[in-house]
């Protein structure tokens, strides 16, 4: 039996508003996120004694170098380079540190810059496998990999472009009510279907737009948060699992499928108890995979599931209520924090304009690092008001 997360909470969801391109470095974005956390919590810099940092473009620095950059002296520090799984994993690390007393207040921040050429450079040097076995094929990066997954998923499970489109369209509706989303125009299913192909069967709106931005939240003891009068949320359960099902020829499932019993067991609730879900959505097919692997429907029925449900913030299955990365933008590693920060907002009543009614529990899922032909990292957390 795993120890519970009793007594540890999440608070102070912050977002440094995204921009398509930035001439600033990742340090600027991360410093802004840290500063916003202090502002939102009224904490002094020295009171934050734990720090996790996630970023692709912070190179050549890591978390340790960043401490000197912003002049902090934490007694607990972690660098979490897990891309889209960073948010869940940072939370897991931080929560245990706070429970054990290794740190009192941990700032979890993620951010990346996006110069006009940084996406290309990130792709070219993403991983050894990507450099050896994907980038030389012209695809560089995840478009081709997810085109393969999407094509295979469609063939195996009979999903149609409209099903993916339904998800994108609903998320855009959510994004129109999220002030930081980069996409400000409504998206219709016709526009989705008639958009130009990027890597067949992927169309333009299946692909996230790289941008600059940062996200952050605090992990601290419940007593402390209450004393500070900070709105907070509880942590009921978490999982992570990496490089799962490595023998599958194509990725149709990931670590969630192995760990979901552990997740719901620890949280003491089931998928039916979630008031909203924040999936990692760099491509819609991955959201379907999470919906299946996390037990909202059977394997292969993700398309039928989204067809039968209403996915907007006010629907019967609110999904990616701030628009997800597909409509908010993908700010590098901050993309792995977007759902977590939104879930804290939803559960503390701070999601003005898109507030899920009576939101008591939410599920946040992370997925990251397309090392070669598939995403390796996966994780999930269940939060409660």
């Amino acid at each position: 039996m795993r120890a519970s997360y009793d007594g540890v909470v999440l608070a102070a969801p912050v977002t440094v508003p995204y921009v398509r391109y930035s001439i600033r470095s990742a340090h600027w974005w991360l410093a802004r996120a840290f500063s916003l956390l202090l502002e939102k919590s009224s904490l002094e810099k020295c009171e934050v004694d734990g720090l996790t940092v996630s970023s692709f473009t912070l190179v050549p620095d890591t978390a340790i170098g960043f401490t000197q950059h912003i002049g902090v002296s934490p007694r607990w520090l972690d660098h979490i380079p897990l891309g889209g799984a960073s948010g869940v994993v940072a939370l897991r690390r931080a929560a245990r540190a706070v429970q054990a007393g290794d740190a009192e207040v941990v700032a979890c921040i993620a951010g990346d810059t996006n110069h006009v050429d940084s996406f290309r450079l990130t792709l070219a040097n993403f991983s050894q496998f990507a450099r050896d076995a994907v980038y030389p094929y012209g695809a560089g990066g995840p478009n081709a990999s997810f085109a393969f997954l999407t094509a295979y998923y469609m063939r195996l499970h009979g999903a149609r472009p409209e099903d993916f489109g339904r998800l994108c369209v609903a998320q855009r509706a959510n994004a129109l009510r999220y002030p930081h989303a980069l996409f400000k125009k409504p998206l219709s299913l016709e526009e989705y279907l008639s958009a130009r192909p990027i890597a067949e069967p992927l169309r333009l709106f299946d692909c996230v737009m790289p941008c600059a931005g940062a996200e952050g939240f605090l992990v601290l003891a419940e007593d402390r948060a209450r004393a500070m009068k900070l709105p907070y949320v509880h942590l009921l359960g978490t999982i992570e699992r990496h490089n799962a099902f490595s023998a599958d020829p194509v990725q149709m499932r990931a670590g969630w499928a192995l760990e979901r019993e552990a997740l719901y067991g620890q949280a003491g609730c089931g998928p039916q108890d979630m008031d909203f879900v924040e999936t990692y959505d760099d491509y819609p097919v991955i959201s379907l995979m999470q919906i299946e692997d996390l037990g909202f429907c059977a394997k292969g029925e993700g398309a039928a599931f989204v067809r039968s449900r209403s996915l907007t913030w006010d629907g019967d299955f609110p999904l990616n209520t701030s628009g997800g990365q597909l409509s908010a933008g993908q700010a590098g590693a901050a993309g792995g924090f977007l759902g977590m920060v939104e879930a804290i907002r939803q559960l503390t009543g701070q999601a003005a304009g898109r507030q899920v009614r009576a939101a008591k529990r939410g599920l946040v899922s992370g997925f990251g690092m397309i090392n070669y032909d598939r995403g390796l990292g996966s994780g999930a957390a269940i939060l409660a008001a």
Binding site: Q128, A133, A144, A151, A199, P249, V250
Partner: protein, 409 residues
């Protein structure tokens, strides 16, 4: 049939290359592909086959990994057509088709996908080819060969097929040269220039060469700098494939002949001849690396297996070929930015007059020519035609010092 050539008045595109960076361990794929082989890492402990290349076996963690031939049979699981790329080379060539393939040997691989492979699921044959950057990539072909397979737009980016191209063969007087011209002519080039030294002397086979419709005979003596320069000025900007087969071969070592004149003559053709050609024809070919569908693609050197290790009975000839091989490596590096492949052919003893006293097996000029055309079609970088060459290669790869001792005994 002629390919439509670019209007010469218009600007010629500068060559671009696909991404060339690889980890050192991944160069194992390139080393095999350079010889026309498709090899994957095999674990010597547990037998697992893995890709992408790793430093340890992902199953048992053994570091005893060997590159071994893979049959290439596989199933296409999913295909995509790229309409966008961040890479210049591919941006200029979109749309581009890729496949995700499960090999029968185990791994799932990303590969360039031939247009004739039907929609997934479909059987495919995976091979490793060198791309324009000189690095190995995987290419998935239809599982059954078709006659027009080589004309695939994507495949042509990896091959140096003589079909519809313009070829220069530097020496038409030798038996090898004439076999080469015959083999190349059968491969459907637009035309073949055939060089011949001492044009005032009619040589055996002259009339037959002249009767081949694609052939134009051009006086060429690669020991004559002025002659090489003038010919390059005339046709250098049109040559797509240059085959330098001119060689001077005499049989002696050091002790049994006095003076350096013969050795110098060998060097003048075998080494300085290559240098002259490279200096005069190289720049023009480099500038035409991206000149439409019939761009400059390949430079072929006829070297010798003796370039790897000296054969004392033909000692000075061996030395001149070793020098030529070293220079060819330099040429390869200089041609690479243009995507023009330098192919080195390392035959064992050729069945010609200068190897009269050598015991068989010897490679016939026709077999050598066939191997060279095949290498162009498959884009191979190093060619070892014939049984003797293959055996020397294996001995040399196994233990270069042992080969030296064997040759000197």
């Amino acid at each position: 049939m002629k390919l439509k050539r670019k209007n010469p008045v218009l600007r010629t595109r500068l060559p671009t290359l696909p991404p060339a960076a690889r980890s050192r361990v991944a160069l194992g794929l390139t080393a095999a592909a350079a010889l026309g082989r498709f090899e994957l890492q095999h674990c010597m402990q547990c037998g697992a086959v893995q890709y992408p290349p790793r430093e340890a076996c992902q199953h048992c963690l053994s570091i005893e990994l060997k590159w071994k031939a893979d049959a290439g049979a596989g199933e296409l699981l999913a295909a995509t057509v790229l309409h966008h790329s961040n890479d210049l080379f591919f941006r200029e060539r979109l749309p581009w088709r890729l496949g995700l393939i499960r090999l029968e040997s185990g791994p799932t691989v990303v590969a360039h996908l031939h247009a004739r492979v039907p929609a997934a699921p479909a059987p495919v044959h995976v091979t490793a080819r060198l791309d324009r950057a000189g690095q190995a990539v995987l290419v998935a072909l239809p599982d059954k060969e078709t006659s027009d397979m080589a004309e695939d737009r994507q495949l042509r980016e990896f091959s140096c097929d003589p079909k519809l191209r313009k070829v220069l063969v530097t020496d038409g007087k030798s038996a090898v040269g004439q076999a080469l011209v015959r083999a190349l002519a059968a491969a459907g080039p637009e035309l073949i220039w055939v060089g011949y030294a001492e044009p005032w002397k009619k040589f055996a086979g002259f009339d037959e060469l002249k009767s081949i419709p694609q052939v134009t005979l051009v006086p060429l003596d690669i020991t004559d700098s002025k002659n090489v320069r003038e010919l390059a000025a005339e046709i250098g900007g049109k040559v797509d494939i240059l085959v330098n087969n001119a060689e001077h071969h005499r049989t002696f070592g050091i002790g049994n002949r006095h003076g350096v004149e013969t050795a110098r003559a060998e060097m003048d053709v075998n080494y300085f001849g290559l240098l002259r050609l490279a200096q005069e024809f190289g720049p023009a070919m480099r500038s035409r690396g991206a000149d439409g569908l019939a761009s400059a693609v390949a430079w072929v050197n006829l070297l010798s297996i003796y370039a790897l290790a000296n054969f004392p009975a033909h000692g000075t000839f061996s030395a001149s070929k070793a020098a030529a091989q070293s220079l060819a490596q330099c040429l390869r590096a200089e041609m690479r930015p243009a995507g023009v492949r330098v192919i080195n052919v390392f035959p064992g003893p050729i069945d010609d007059e200068w190897n009269q006293l050598l015991l068989p097996p010897k490679v016939s000029p026709a077999a050598l020519a066939a191997a060279l055309v095949k290498a162009l079609r498959e884009g191979v970088e190093d060619v070892y035609p014939g049984d003797v060459a293959q055996e020397w290669l294996e001995r040399w790869r196994d233990n270069p010092k042992a080969l030296e001792k064997e040759l000197s005994s």
